[in-house]
């Protein structure tokens, strides 16, 4: 088992791109080796060691590596990008693109995550105890597939476009979400504990379940009647009928 603890040396004001903070990059490496990994601050190339203090205990491969982020990472982007194994524990908030394209392992966040957390994720698990911003589990600009596999859990709220262009996997938001969750959804499952508005527009496949109130329904769904899912009765809709979509939308 290898545990790597990272802390900002000082307050980070200019955003940092740190896709090298990942068990795949840290596994089996010494403190020195980790410190020398590249990071970008604004348009300046720098190293993780310049920006963060790094403490390594034990040694092991990516699957046996736990990364603990202490302090404020709210200006640090792309943490855990593409990770395949291991664990990242984040004690505060993080910037955009957390766990983008990850295919395995687990990321756990005590605070909030900025936009595009779990973007184009393929597998693994992302747990956020605070709130998520826009495009949770979505595809980046123009991409036809967002999240493709794995699981995202948000215990707070999320903003607009949860799971946009989602093609697989599962997203659970305990609180409310902004408008258009599951926009252009093409697979996978989104469960919203609270309220939302205009879910599932342009949906061609996949499932959306809304347990709270839907402020506004898009007029592109066909009501199929009542149906019970896991013992709870919902109104079942299918659509988007304009695109001959086979998406399922369950609303209480």
């Amino acid at each position: 088992m290898q545990t790597v603890t990272i802390k900002p040396r000082k307050e980070i004001k200019i955003s940092v791109e740190a896709e090298n903070i990942s068990p795949d990059k840290f596994g089996g490496k010494t403190e020195k080796e980790i410190q020398s990994l590249v990071a970008w601050m604004g348009n300046q190339k720098t190293t993780l060691g310049e920006l963060f203090s790094v403490k390594v205990e034990g040694s092991g491969p990516a699957a046996d590596t736990k990364i603990v982020l202490e302090g404020d990472f709210s200006r640090v982007k792309r943490i855990g990008e593409g990770m395949t194994a291991g664990l990242i524990m984040i004690n505060g908030n993080v910037d955009m693109h957390l766990g983008a394209k990850m295919s395995g392992g687990k990321i756990s966040v005590k605070g909030n995550v900025d936009s595009w957390a779990g973007r184009e994720m393929k597998g693994g698990e992302l747990i956020v105890e605070g709130n998520a911003a826009y495009y949770l589990g979505a595809g980046y600009r123009g991409e036809s597939c967002g999240m493709r596999g794995g699981k995202i859990t948000v215990l707070g709220n999320a903003l607009d476009f949860v799971g946009e262009h989602m093609c697989g996997g599962e997203i659970f938001v305990k609180g409310n979400t902004g408008i258009l969750p599951g926009l252009s959804n093409n697979g996978g499952k989104i469960v919203i504990g609270g309220n939302t508005s205009r879910p599932g527009s342009e949906m061609s496949k996949g499932t959306i379940i809304v347990n709270g109130k839907v402020d506004e329904m898009m007029p592109v769904f066909k009501l199929e009647g009542d149906e019970a899912v896991d013992g709870v009765t919902y109104k079942k809709y299918t659509g988007d009928v304009i695109g001959n979509g086979k998406g399922l939308l369950y609303v209480k």
Binding site: G139, Y140, R141, G142, E143, S144, S204, G243
Partner: protein, 570 residues
């Protein structure tokens, strides 16, 4: 500046050189008989030397290329390379940024590329991009096939006015030749319709695709343009369309060439050689198309080879693109260019295990392998419709190695066995044939063989050297080496200057833009302009005075003169 390339294994089919160790002398951007002792010597070390590559059909600049960029931000996430001291940053795979177009062609050893379709009204945009594409020489073909003036003059059977319109349209667009895309279909798309064959009548104009094609061929030869009519056939992309393609190719017999070249170039034949009646019984008819080409000498084609993976289809064939977007549930952009055709852009992903895609892939290769004379079947991917041009090395290695083809066939949908003849074709092209499909043939088809596509005295000093020793390689077995060498030239020399060394850009001179200045009798021009003035007054959204591309937009012009000559019609 003088340059002497020694010890090259030269393949120059135009001058009958097949791998012989031939010295090449270069002075002031041209190939000359000999140079002084002060010349810089470049030792090719027995490696493969060819004329710089010439691409006769690619979409590298202009309105629809840029629409592709705008609607595909995801494409720009690939192909990223940072700026260097002499190159700008690059992005993109199917729709690269403007600068990458020039760098990437040069890195493959290509030095001349023709944009295959510009509407006159959008030509200023085309030239704005062409001006910024570094290194390569270029030009653009101008769309005439669904233009209102074209159809009016065809209906009136007034070839003098049509010739005058083409001459004026080429000037207005600083264009190089006549492109004709799904003639009539672009106009009908304005009303949500399409033409289905050569004899459908375009309403309000009372002309047929057949009449449009034949008339444009006639005036092309009346004007003695360097290139022939460049035809994107009706019914492109529909199962069973090979019949329309054959019927269109038959039309070439009605016109005699004014020069030593074809009278019709049928482009991206991969998309026009389709049998069957639907996607279920879809099959290759590449053999029928190749057979026709083998028996006719007035017509040429290009492959439009498909490359598995991401592509962006872009064409003036607006109705086809609407059908594509519906079929693929894909993003779709539609364009209407007022009185001049339509357009559409749709991304696509070609998948090995989809039977239709596997058959399409095979069709392109069948066309190249079944057409006996490589001068009649040029190598293209119809970039980025069949796939991005950076994959030419993949196509070359497939054509040179049956072993590679058989390995690939094992990985694609089994339909290639029943629906195409590719598995049984054992022809392997040699370096001379590749040089023809990528240099000599493309230059001949474009009408530029005097200065492009060969290494004889008087030719432009556009030269590529590849890291292969032809006498020591078996392309059939060592196809991976062939692919790697053709993807990244050891040297690319443009106008006598080394622009690429070991695959890296070393200089970024600006290339020239070819366009054709065709003269017609003043009286024909004046009569034609009366109609044009009326059309601008009544229909165009812009003023005639703002229409024409000014010289400022073409700062490095290479003007080819042409003019009205009598044409013999069979």
């Amino acid at each position: 500046m003088e340059l002497l390339i020694k010890n090259g294994a030269v393949f120059d089919p135009v001058n009958g050189i097949k791998g012989d160790k031939t010295d090449i002398s270069v002075k002031d951007g041209k190939i000359v008989n000999n140079v002084s002792s002060k010349a810089t010597v470049l030792d090719a070390g027995g490696r493969l030397v060819m004329a710089g590559g010439v691409d006769a059909h690619s979409h590298i600049a202009g309105a629809k290329v840029n629409v592709g960029r705008m609607m595909r931000p995801e494409d720009s996430r690939s192909g990223i390379s940072p700026r260097t001291k002499i190159t700008r940053p690059c992005t993109g795979y199917t729709v690269p940024n403007v600068y990458a177009m020039g760098y990437r062609y040069a890195q493959m050893g290509y030095t001349t590329v023709f944009e295959a379709a510009q509407a006159i009204m959008k030509a200023r945009h085309t030239h704005e991009e062409l001006e910024e594409i570094p290194i390569i020489d270029k030009g653009a073909l101008t769309l005439f096939g669904s233009n209102w003036p074209t159809m009016d003059f065809v209906r009136e059977k007034n070839m003098d006015k049509l010739a005058a319109y083409v001459a004026w349209g080429l000037l207005a667009s600083r264009g190089f030749g006549i492109k004709c895309v799904n003639p009539g279909g672009g106009e009908m798309w304005g009303f949500g319709k399409n033409v289905t064959g050569l004899d459908d009548v375009v309403p309000s104009f009372d002309v047929t695709p057949r009449e449009i094609i034949v008339s444009l061929m006639k005036v092309n030869e009346m004007l003695g343009l360097p290139h022939s009519v460049h035809l994107h056939c009706n019914n492109l992309g529909n199962p069973g369309n090979y019949k329309t393609t054959l019927a269109s190719m038959e039309l070439a017999n009605q016109v005699k060439a004014s020069k030593d070249r074809q009278v019709m170039h049928v482009t991206h034949l991969l998309f026009n050689s389709w049998g069957g009646t639907n996607w279920g019984d879809f099959e290759s008819k590449a053999d029928e198309i190749a057979n026709f080409l083998n028996n006719h000498d007035n017509i040429t084609g290009d492959m439009g080879q498909m490359i598995f993976g991401s592509a962006t289809t872009m064409t003036a064939d607006g109705p086809k693109q609407y059908a594509n977007a519906k079929l693929l549930h894909a993003k779709w952009s539609n364009g209407d260019v007022e009185l001049e055709d339509a357009s559409g852009v749709v991304p696509i992903y070609y998948v090995k295990q989809i039977s239709v895609h596997a058959i399409m892939w095979a069709i392109g290769l069948e066309l190249a392998l079944l057409t006996k004379d490589p001068y009649k079947m040029l190598l293209t991917t119809d970039h980025p419709n069949g796939g991005p041009f950076v994959n030419y090395s993949e196509v070359i290695s497939l054509l040179m190695s049956n072993k590679k083809r058989q390995e690939e066939i094992k990985t694609v949908h089994e339909a290639v066995h029943a629906k195409t003849k590719l598995p049984g074709l054992d022809r392997e092209l040699d370096f001379s044939e590749i040089a023809i499909m990528t240099r000599a043939g493309t230059s001949k088809v474009l009408g530029l063989l005097d200065t492009k596509g060969h290494l004889g005295v008087g030719a432009d000093a556009d030269i590529s050297i590849y890291d292969i020793k032809p006498d020591q390689i078996d392309p059939s077995v060592e196809h991976a080496k062939i692919k790697s060498a053709f993807s990244s030239a050891a040297y690319t020399i443009k106008g006598g200057q080394v622009v690429v060394k070991d695959g890296q850009i070393t200089a970024t001179p600006l290339g020239r833009t070819y366009w054709v200045d065709a003269k017609v009798p003043q009286q024909h021009h004046d009569e034609m302009m009366k109609d044009i003035v009326r059309k601008f007054k009544n229909y165009y959204s812009i003023q005639l005075a703002n229409y024409m591309v000014q010289d400022e937009y073409v700062s490095h012009p290479q003007v080819i003169k042409a003019g009205a000559i009598p044409v013999e019609v069979n």
